[in-house]
Assembly symmetry: C2
């Protein structure tokens, strides 16, 4: 088993305290891309990341888009004979609400029990930043990198990466790479480095049900005016059958059988359903009949309610017949489901089941395609060696229930293989209060990525 080079390891150890201070500074910026009132913060985070790339020794620029800016960092000193890698990450974060459920403030990084708590700690600022520091280690300790590097950091990942594909297309020549490396996922368990074999896609909707023109007295109108909140509940209840299977006609048409070897590997993973249940804090697990928990999470699509709002939700009782009701509903997709096709199916289904007496609108807020990795080749082999060097054991192949919509875009536009190697951990609360990242994983992650560049640079020929 190879080891992380001593000079890189020493550099990162020497600068450990400064690196942590810098990371804290980045985490303090509330770059919530979904909230327009945070636009200035999101812009500030982009500038901060660009400056950190420059400090590491790259050239960096901030590119406006129709939404939040894209940051590009470049170092091309390895020469035309060396491979070029593109590192992707995002500097935007999920909203921090509900704020009262955070043990320490969402934007005031705090370490407790080896965990760094902050919104964005693991998703994805911490993981983006460990890449920046791995590059810095090479460039400061040795004055050079064994590969040419492009860093692409976006600010719209949490709201659907609306402008990223267009940016990549418009800059495809400049962004041409032999491999794409992304750290925006989790390891299967502590101490168990992991390479991802798949991602679920996403189709995210808002369903608006409009009943009467305004809120009405539920005594004076109730029973004769259709209640939009009850109508919404009845619409949502049609989306699954009694077995937890999605009942939207045509929904599974593009779902293909999973690779038997990957399924077999999954069954070999040390997964404790009771531990997973306890960590989620759920009274009991559930889901589609006939599948294990990992199969439900990684290989099966979902239809979830992400939010509900209607009428009176405050203290006490208000006898109102609400004018409207809203649900945020999202489907996780698996290969080869297409967000646009799911949008059409969802709209047709809701139109079919919507009761008379209300007006129902389905808006597709954003979507991303599911993705499946190629688990072979120089990039995959280099990653296995680098992870083994940093973590002291061979990585496992896992799946991922979440979505990184741009992965498919990279593969499609740049034609380069994508490596998903993340350093989060189960229970990290990525989209919830008390998000955290393991300090140990941050430390070893920097070293694994630093080693990856060595492995890739010395691999025979270009990776593609």
């Amino acid at each position: 088993m190879s080891a992380v080079s001593t000079d890189l390891d020493a550099y990162l150890s020497t600068h450990d305290a400064r690196i942590q201070r810098e990371l804290f500074d980045l985490l303090r910026i509330p770059s919530v891309s979904a909230r327009s009132e945070h636009d200035a913060d999101t812009a500030r985070a982009a500038e901060w990341v660009a400056q950190s790339l420059r400090d590491a020794g790259l050239e960096a620029s901030v590119h406006p888009t129709g939404g939040h800016p894209v940051v590009v960092g470049e170092w091309r000193g390895a020469g035309a004979g060396a491979p070029t890698v593109l590192v992707y990450g995002h500097y935007d974060v999920q909203p921090a609400e509900p704020l009262e459920l955070w043990t320490s403030p969402a934007f005031e990084p705090t370490i407790r029990d080896g965990k760094l708590f902050a919104r964005g700690s693991v998703d994805d600022k911490g993981q983006l930043f460990l890449h920046v520091k791995a590059l810095e280690a090479h460039l400061k300790a040795r004055g050079r990198l064994p590969v040419n590097v492009i860093v692409l950091a976006e600010g719209e990942e949490e709201v659907g990466s609306e402008h990223l594909a267009g940016f990549i297309e418009a800059n495809a020549a400049r962004l041409q790479a032999d491999a794409v490396v992304i750290s925006d996922s989790a390891m299967f368990a502590p101490g168990l480095p992991s390479i991802l074999s798949s991602l679920r896609g996403l189709a995210y909707f808002q369903i608006d049900v409009q009943g009467p023109a305004q809120d009405l007295h539920s005594g004076s109108y109730g029973g004769a005016v259709v209640n939009p909140a009850m109508a919404l509940a009845r619409i949502l209840a049609t989306m699954h059958d009694a077995d937890g299977r999605i009942a939207i006609p045509g929904f599974y048409d593009a779902v293909h059988a999973w690779d038997a070897r990957v399924l077999e590997q999954m069954r070999g993973l040390p997964f404790d359903e009771e531990h997973f249940r306890a960590e989620a804090g759920s009274p009991a697990l559930g889901g589609e009949k006939g599948y294990t928990v990992l199969e439900r999470l990684w290989t099966r699509p979902t239809c979830e309610v992400n939010g509900l709002l209607s009428g009176y939700t405050g203290e006490g009782a208000k006898t109102v017949l609400p004018a409207k009701a809203m649900a945020k509903v999202s489907c996780r997709l698996v290969p080869d489901q297409d967000p646009a096709a799911i949008e059409a199916l969802m709209k047709a289904h809701v139109a079919r089941v919507a009761p008379k007496g209300v007006t129902v609108t389905v808006t597709h807020l954003h979507g991303g395609r599911p993705w499946r990795a190629e688990l072979a080749g120089p990039l995959f082999d280099a990653a296995r060696r680098a992870l083994a060097a940093a973590f002291g054991r061979e990585p496992v192949i896992t799946g991922e229930g979440g979505s990184i919509p741009v992965v498919g875009d990279f593969q499609r536009i740049l034609g380069a293989p994508v490596l998903l190697v993340g350093f989060g951990l189960p229970g990290e609360n990525a989209h919830a209060p008390d998000e955290w990242m393991s300090v140990e994983n941050f430390t070893k992650g920097m070293r694994a990525i630093a080693a990856l560049w060595d492995e890739l640079g010395t691999s025979t020929g270009r990776t593609k």
Copy 2:
């Protein structure tokens, strides 16, 4: 047809501008009983009402309860041979939210097109105040009233009148009356004075569904952790069948056939379903199959969603699997449904249909019994004559879909017949933005009530 006495009519005309100024002052107090942050306002409204009773010539006192205070005004100068009437009203109001939908501010009374807009204008401050001014007219114009009067004004009507029954019971001797008169309802149409034959009761619940211990990433957990918002939707969808009939087992057991003569009168009322639909601003009317709109509103029970809240409800998309979901659900009841019995049925039903993987709690926030009037006797006859005198036409007998929980308490504790004679109008937005009361109805309502005391005082013997 009798007329309103000239002296009372002249007094009210002379003081019209002052009366309106005073009413505006009362409406400016945001006495929202459901919101603890308005407790001081609610207490201020109680003192204001007590002072207005004193100014009118009654003795008045404010009585603390476990919640908001009860105001009692008394004038007993008519002597033991004259009947004693108890006037009930409430000085608390519904919450004004959503504030942005008010054309003029909720607590800044404004007259437009003959309508007085303000929260509480018709429910019930305006109607309570017209009683105070009718009493004032007698006491100032003549120095006396033809009946003994007790005014009872509470501050918890909009939150279930929790402490009123106890107050009436504890003060039953002092509150003993031959008749109870309440103006907290609407006329059937402009110019059509109305006496109510029935009220629906209420059983108001909050359903809380707890899933995971905290909000989770819908990608990392979705499909294997039961979604509490989807579970809530499925629970709510079990509450009606496809015909709009409530599907909670046993729900209709105590519902009795309606009096055929009252049903026949209802069918004769000038009711325009299309006008009702347009006024509600609803795309189409709906409800239980086999009933007319008025029957649905007045004679049939309901099960409504009054509010929904779960997960992320802000701008954009957040891929969260919510920790919990909440619905406010209320049932309007008809004779002889009992709120406590409905509570037991609702809890049993929800427990039966709740899916595994979530914890569901049903809390009964408050209830009130339905009520049916006796449409005969001296009180009823006096009211018919007084309304005819003030409005120039015979009143109609109507039903009411709303609830006034204390009506049953008055009948039960004091043993006195209750007269419900209200001066609201359809479309008055009693629990919604832009609540209003007809200025004409306020003016004629004062005169009708002033005439009622004359009619009752001259009726042979006591009314009971």
